[in-house]
């Protein structure tokens, strides 16, 4: 999803929303069936990624071990056996050409996908928060300079600039780290725009004026009055940006400029699968399907988070909206 749309959606939440602690948030999230299911899927994926060495050891496989005996070299390297060589030993079959165990590669691929996207998202949010707050609270000059920098940042489409940067950074630099840095380093403008706009809106509210009158300093006000209200839009943005970052990583690897072999990555598998789909369709369908399920689950979860944090949406769910009984007729 594009940044402009994310900004629109995550930034639409009203600046002033009643307090909702973590418990209320979870209750609202659980009230949504789809989001709960998505959360389970995401949890499972995260566990798989974390336990990758354990799982592959359990399966008795190594992601980088070649098994030339399992592919038919006469037929160009098609896996021997039905469904891409699925067997009791190779749960998802083997990679065409090399015979490497697909289950092990998929499991390690999940590590790369989720890890890269996580670091990138955290980086985006951290940078955006600092820059957005500085623009909103700093002097007019600071705001203008940061505004220009944001404009330049927007002019750099992530895909194109990531491609370009990957060209000049030495091969020795670890690619997963580099990709996370690139996506995070140039993807902060969405967060900073939301933070700036919301902080400015909040700043004009009377409770901030009251805090000034009570004699508190600027940074104390930012921390105690502004940050808690910024949490909702920022978390929403992060939840919706995370799946987008997974797609970007997969896309870069698909183009052959992202994660370099032998490190496994779903996007990279898809590039190779392109040539094998007739002989070994599972080699294409498994990473494609996983990528789809992961991104879909994260997106649905992101939507759920948004609904749980947006009190207007929450009132539609009928959870935790107890207000003083004096509503308008």
């Amino acid at each position: 999803m594009s940044e402009a749309l994310l900004v629109q959606e995550a930034g639409a939440a009203p600046a002033v929303a009643p307090a909702s602690g973590a418990r209320l948030f979870l209750r609202r999230l659980r009230a949504q069936r789809a989001a709960s299911a998505a959360a389970l899927v995401v949890l499972l994926l995260v566990l798989v990624a974390l336990a990758a060495p354990l799982l592959t050891a359990l399966a008795g496989q190594d992601p980088n071990a070649y098994h030339p005996d399992l592919v038919d070299s006469a037929a160009g390297g098609v896996p021997i056996g039905s469904f891409g060589g699925i067997s009791g030993e190779h749960w998802l079959g083997v990679e065409p050409g090399t015979g490497r165990d697909l289950f092990a590669r998929i499991v390690y691929g999940a590590r790369v996908s989720l890890g890269v996207a996580l670091v990138a998202t955290v980086l985006q949010i951290a940078l955006g928060l600092v820059i957005g707050l500085a623009a909103a609270l700093g002097s007019r000059g600071v705001d203008q300079v940061l505004g220009r920098i944001t404009d330049i940042n927007v002019a750099l489409p992530v895909m194109v600039i990531a491609l370009a940067l990957l060209a000049i950074v030495p091969e020795s630099f670890p690619r997963p780290v580099l990709i996370a840095l690139v996506i995070g380093g140039i993807g902060w403008s969405g967060t900073s725009k939301i933070v700036r706009a919301q902080a400015l809106a909040l700043k004009s509210l009377d409770f901030v004026a009251a805090a000034r009158l009570s004699g508190r300093g600027k940074w104390s006000i930012a921390r105690r009055e502004l940050l808690p209200s910024l949490a909702a839009p920022v978390i929403t943005y992060a939840a919706l940006a995370f799946p987008t970052n997974i797609i970007v990583e997969a896309a870069l690897s698909f183009l052959g400029v992202g994660i370099k072999p032998p490190t496994p990555s779903w996007g990279q598998m898809l590039t190779e699968a392109d040539t094998w789909y007739q002989a070994a369709p599972t080699y294409l369908l498994i990473p494609a399907g996983l990528l789809f399920v992961t991104v879909l689950a994260l997106t649905v979860l992101g939507e759920g988070v948004r609904t749980a944090l947006d009190p207007r949406a929450a009132s539609r769910l009928g959870v935790g909206t107890g207000t003083a009984k004096e509503g308008a007729a």
Binding site: A4, L5, V154, A155, L156, V160, A167, Y277, A288, T299
Partner: protein
Amino acid sequence: MTGFLLRRLGGAALVLLALTALLYAIFYVAPGDVAQIACGPRCSPAQVAQVTEQLRLDDPVYVQYAHFLQGIVAGRDFSTGTGTEHCAMPCLGVSYQSDQQVTQLILAKLPVTGSLVIGAFAGWLLLGVGTGVLSAWRRGRLTERVLTWLTLAGSATPVFVIGLLLIIVFCSTLQWLPAPSYVPFTENPEQWAWGLLLPWTSLALIESAKYARLTRSAMLETLAEDHVRTFRAYGVGERAIIGRHALRGAVAPVIALSALDFGSMFGGAVLTESLFGIPGIGRELVHAVKVVDLPVVVGMVLVTGFFVVLANAVADLLYALADRRVVLS
């Protein structure tokens, strides 16, 4: 109005200037050994020295940057070893690989990318806005739920996955369509359309999800506004309320997002072009990245930046025109 336009264009020019400096610093200064990169990894020290001389890499950095800028605004001369070659403005340099001028290279690819983007744009706008209107109209019913899930699935699918599946189904398995290819419109309009049909479809399917979301949420927001209640209270029917009042609220955001997408895609629909083998700007960029052809990489990024900055300015303007409540300032 004119003042707004001038200020906006002035700002855009400033952003582009800063962009050139940034790109120059990243790509020509940071890597250090530009001569070696230009010459290629197998060059002897003597050859590298010759390239350094030819490209005037001994000059101080600011002089080199000044030449680079001069090329863009006024054109410049290049020594080719046997003599000099004039590169007319806007000169983005000469490819290290093919000795072709980057500007010419990009101009040659522009119609290709243009064909792809314009066709896909028409598709996603129609499909996306249509879906959005339908789901806003049938809100709370089964139709809306189905459309919402389809839209979610669309935004969770990377364009290269849907593209791959389309190729497999329609070209390889069913053989209803020829393999995607690019034939210039001027040569054979029929083949042009058939060759681009799948790329258009994939891009339109994926992008339309965004537009459906945007249209739906903008319309639902409008439907909750007081003025809709007024027209209901005056006996105006649901169809007029949806088609005239609610849809009008979605026009400005849809136009603004279109301009942005249009702009950034002209810088290359990198993934789509690579997947379908369409020789446009995006595919050229991937190639240039793989062979580290710096002038081409920088030129393409700059052109993309130019389109995005332009699109941003146009988006602001269109937004202001479409939403008369916004005061131009």
